[in-house]
Structure formats: C-alpha cells, structure tokens
C-alpha cells in the first residue's frame, strides 16, 4: 500500500520513448515497402522525368531490326522490351539483348539500331529506363511506368 510505483516523470519519458521507437519501426517498415525517391536533374523525381522522355522507334519484323532515336531532352539509360509472342509474354532489357546499345544509354539526339530476337512477336512495347540518384547518393535505375511505353506493333 505504501509503494510509490513509477514516478510521473519516468512514466512520461517511457511513454515518449515507446512512441518514438514504435514510430521508428513503422517508418522503417513503411520505407521498405515504398520506393526510394530517385531524383534526376538535381531534385526532380525520376517518375516525373519519365513524362518528358521522347523518342522515335521503328521495328522491321522481317529482319528483327529495332531502331530508336532519342528526340527529347532526357537521356535514356536503357530500354525494357515487353514482347508478346504467341502463347507467351516476356520482358527483356535491351542491354542484355543487343551488345550495340551504348553503355551510357542514348543521350540527347542519340540513336540506336540493332537486332532483337523475338519469335513472331504480336506486340512489342518499349519502356524507357532512366538513371537517377538515390537519397544515399548512389546511381540507381528507374523503369518508367507502362503508360510511358511506346507500342511498336
């Protein structure tokens, strides 16, 4: 009956510490399930930069030759190809498909022509991949959303 229990100050400190720790745990968990804010051109979120990507592309189904010309102001680091073939569907990185793709990508005004292997493709969609900077200062690639894709066939 004469015991004091925890003093109000300690209780308050404990409460705050618990709230801070829980908030930190929730923050770290939430950060792991959301994408990092990769930026390009200083402080532009790369998702917004995807809106400004402009390029022209053609595909010759007889020879399998894919030609791309960057007509905009955003360098295209790589290109993801979504290829729909009869009965199957695959996504490939153009860097892995053709050795001729420039190492640093297509700069402004840059162009590319190369052969891609696809068996009787029904549809080919080109999705730009951009290079940006992560909050940690490292260079990271970002695949633009499907809506920025360019349907070739």
């Amino acid at each position: 009956m004469n015991r004091k229990g925890v003093s109000p100050v300690i209780a308050t400190v404990l409460l705050i510490a618990l709230v801070v720790i829980i908030a930190l745990i929730v923050f770290l968990w939430f950060r792991s399930i959301t994408q990092e804010a990769i930026v390009k051109f200083g402080d532009q979120n790369v998702e917004l930069v995807c809106e400004d990507v402009k390029f022209i592309a053609t595909y010759d189904s007889a020879t399998g030759t894919l030609s791309i010309s960057n007509s905009g102001n955003v360098p295209i680091y790589s290109m993801n190809l979504k290829i729909s073939e009869t009965g199957k569907y695959q996504t490939k990185d153009i860097k892995e498909m053709d050795a001729g793709w420039p190492e640093l990508g297509l700069r402004q005004g840059g162009s590319f022509s190369g052969t891609i292997e696809a068996e009787d493709p029904i549809q080919i969609t080109l999705i730009p991949v951009l290079l940006g900077t992560s909050p940690r200062g490292t260079e990271e690639t970002h695949i633009c959303a499907d809506r920025h894709g360019y349907e070739l066939l």
Binding site: N2, K4, G5, S7, P8, V9, A11, T12, I16, A37, V39, F41, G42, D43, Q44, N45, E47, L48, E51, D52, K54, I56, A57, T58, D60, S67, I68, S69, N70, S71, G72, N73, R107, Q108, G109, G110, S111, F112, S113, E151
Partner: protein, 401 residues
C-alpha cells in the same frame, strides 16, 4: 495531509505544460520536415523545351560519290536562333529511321563556321545560338563508307534552364530529306524507267502519278509510267488511263481552296513534305490542332461520274508534351460522314508521331453520294493546342464509272 497526498502521488506535477508544448512543437517540426523532404521531389518543375517557332530548312542535300562528300545547305526559317544540330543518316530507303550519326565526319575546314561538339554540330561554339533567322550555311561531311539515302536533322539551342545553361534538343522541329546526287546539276527525275511495282512512281511529278496503273484499271507490275519530268507522256503510254487526277495540293501557293476555319487551323510554314508539283521539299503545309469548331479544313469537289475516289496525303502527327492520347485522332470525312481516323491507339489507324506518313483512303459512289459538291474534310479530334496535325500533298484521284 500534504505528506499523505504526496505518498499517493496526487501532488506530483509531472512534466510542466511548457515542456509539453516544446515537445509537441519539436515533434511537429521533425515530422513535417521528413514529409517535406519526401514530397518535394514530386513538385513538377518546368521541363527543358524549345520554343514553338524553331525551324531549320534543308535547302539542299547532295552526295558526291566520287569525293564521298555530303553537302548540306540549310536555312534558319524559324523565329529563333539556333546553336547547332544533331545529324543522322540512313543508307537505305527500306530503313524507317535514320540512326547513323555522322557529326564526327564534319569537315570543319570546308564548312562555313561549324565545329564538332560531343555528338552534335555547332554553328559557332564561341557564342550561343549564333545561327539567326534567315541565316544560311553549307556544311560538308566526309562519309567514309556507304551512300546516304536520306539525312535527318534535329536543331538544338542553348538555353537557360534553372539558372544553368543547357543544350536543348528541338525534337518537334526535326527535318528529314532525301539526299540527291552531287557534282553536277541534278537531272530531271526519270519516270519512264520505273515500274509500278513498289510505289516508286510516287516520286515522279504530278503528271505521272495518275498513270501508275494500266489501262485495265489495275496495277499488274508491268506498265511503265512514261517519260521524264519535262515531257510527261504518261497518258499516251498508258493509253486510256482510267484514273483521273481531280486535284493536288502542296499549299506552296496558298491554301488552294482549303478552308481556314479559325484559330485551330492554318496554312503553316512549320514544316512541309512536298511542293505543289509533288516533288519533295517546299515550305508550307496545312495545320490543325485541338478539338474545336475551328479544328477543320475542308473543300468541295465535283465527283459526278466517278465510281471511286482515292484521297492520299502526307500526314505529320506531333504532340508536344505527352504524345497523342489513345483517343486523339484526325478524322477524314466525306459530306460530314466519317471515313476513317488516324492518331492514338483507339483511332482507326495508330500512327507514329513526328515523321511524315503517307496515308490514303478510298471511297466509292455506292457508299457516298457523288455529286457536284462533295465535301472532303480533315477534322482534328485532339486534346489541346499542343497536339498538332500537318497535312501536305493532298492528292485526289478518281476512276470514272
């Protein structure tokens, strides 16, 4: 009494309200700064872009196969100064896109002020944007192998962007032109040598185009077109050619009867595909934008006595920001009835943007009323003033009943 209440903890104050407020404010500031850091990258900034009136005209592109020199004469026919250009060629008419970069083959000693700069050619790197409106320059490129079929040029400007000077590519002002033979004056285009097997006759002058068929009305790859530019003798070669040319419109000498209905339609010198005689080049085309009551150009024709009429034209679709939306189209209408549409993925025909496309549609007297006043109309169904359609070289031919 005091001692008792202290024992029960009732008299203790805990943290003072002041410290509570301070903690609250600190929490709010810390959380808001975290959220700010996260969200600020999502604030849109103005994109690098060229002004609308940038335009470079290729007066002449010739290749001398003996000296391996590609000579380009160009004029700034826009409203803004230009710094330089990206240049690509293609060696084959079968290729769709010019992707061979030749900037590093520039012969600086033979070209009027020009210099190679990292993937581009600059008119004068000592100062910015020195190629002013109406300026003309000739640049020579030494092509080590192959013969260029066509050359594609994208003008560039140096502009201030977010307090830094940057090179801006003017993709919407891209021009492409077929390369002619150099060394001597270009001979008249031979029409008589070409067969009608791959549409090559379309490069012939107007007088020959309507003879791309044989007297029986079908092209069976055996007939020739006729003679040369100077002496078109197509009709006599083909006998009673059943195809009659009703009209051809290159917009070089004016709107040529096509209506200019308001702010969203105009005869434009932004780009051109052909001249009034059908030969590649020229300065003018007809332009539509947006989807308003003035996004229309039309003209009436006399189709009396025709069984079918073919309308063919060069179309250029360009959307400045995000590309044409899926349902942004240009419609061809006969007497206000839609024949077909071209544009985004949901239109009748999905087009590639930013290049000239050869397009056509054929209508018959059984589908439409052919009388002495049949309206042919191009109508824009696009999203905004940023969406543009240019039409050039409208060719209307008919087969009589």
């Amino acid at each position: 009494m005091r001692l008792n209440s202290k024992k029960r903890g009732k008299g203790k104050k805990g943290i003072s309200p002041l410290i509570g407020y301070v903690l609250l404010v600190v929490f709010a500031v810390v959380i808001s700064s975290i959220v700010f850091q996260w969200l600020r990258t999502y604030v849109p900034a103005q994109a690098m872009e060229c002004p609308d009136g940038v335009s470079l005209f290729l007066n002449n592109a010739t290749f001398d196969s003996d000296t391996k020199e590609l000579s380009l004469t160009m004029t700034n026919n826009g409203r803004f100064s230009i710094d330089g250009y990206y240049i690509n060629i293609k060696n084959d008419s079968e290729q769709d896109l010019a992707v061979i970069g030749i900037w590093n083959y520039l012969d600086e000693s033979k070209s009027s002020p020009a210099m190679k700069i990292a993937g581009s050619v600059s008119f004068n790197p000592q100062d910015i944007n020195l190629f002013k409106p109406q300026d003309q320059a000739t640049h020579i490129f030494n092509i080590p192998e192959g013969e260029p079929y066509s050359v594609s040029i994208i003008p560039i400007r140096r502009q201030e962007h977010r307090e830094r000077e940057r090179l801006v590519s003017c993709g919407s002002a891209r021009v492409e032109q077929t390369v002619g033979e150099g060394g001597e004056e270009e001979p008249p285009e031979e029409c008589g040598d070409e067969t009608c097997d791959s549409g090559e006759c379309n490069s012939c002058p107007q007088d020959c185009i309507h003879t791309d068929c044989c007297p029986d009305g079908t092209c069976n790859n055996e007939e020739t077109c006729g003679e040369t530019n100077d002496e078109p003798k197509c009709n006599s070669d083909c006998g009673e050619c059943p195809i009659v040319q009703i009209g051809y419109f290159g917009f070089e000498s004016g709107a040529q009867g096509w209506s200019d209905t308001g702010s969203d339609s105009d005869r434009s010198n932004e780009r051109s595909k052909v001249q009034d005689n059908g030969i590649e080049g020229g300065l003018w085309s007809f332009h539509l934008q947006d989807d308003t009551t003035s996004s229309i150009t039309a003209q009436n024709f006399d189709f009396t006595g025709y069984e079918s009429v073919t309308i063919s034209w060069w179309g250029y679709y360009s959307s400045f920001w995000w590309g044409l939306g899926s349902n942004e189209c240009v419609e061809l209408k006969i007497n206000n009835i839609k024949v077909d549409s071209w544009g985004g993925s949901e239109c009748g025909n999905h087009v590639t943007e930013d290049i000239w496309l050869e397009q056509s549609a054929t209508v018959t007297s059984s589908e439409y009323t052919f009388d002495d006043s049949v309206e042919i109309r191009f109508e824009g169904e696009m999203g905004s003033d940023w969406d543009d359609f240019y039409v050039d070289g409208i060719n209307i031919t008919g087969i009589p009943d």
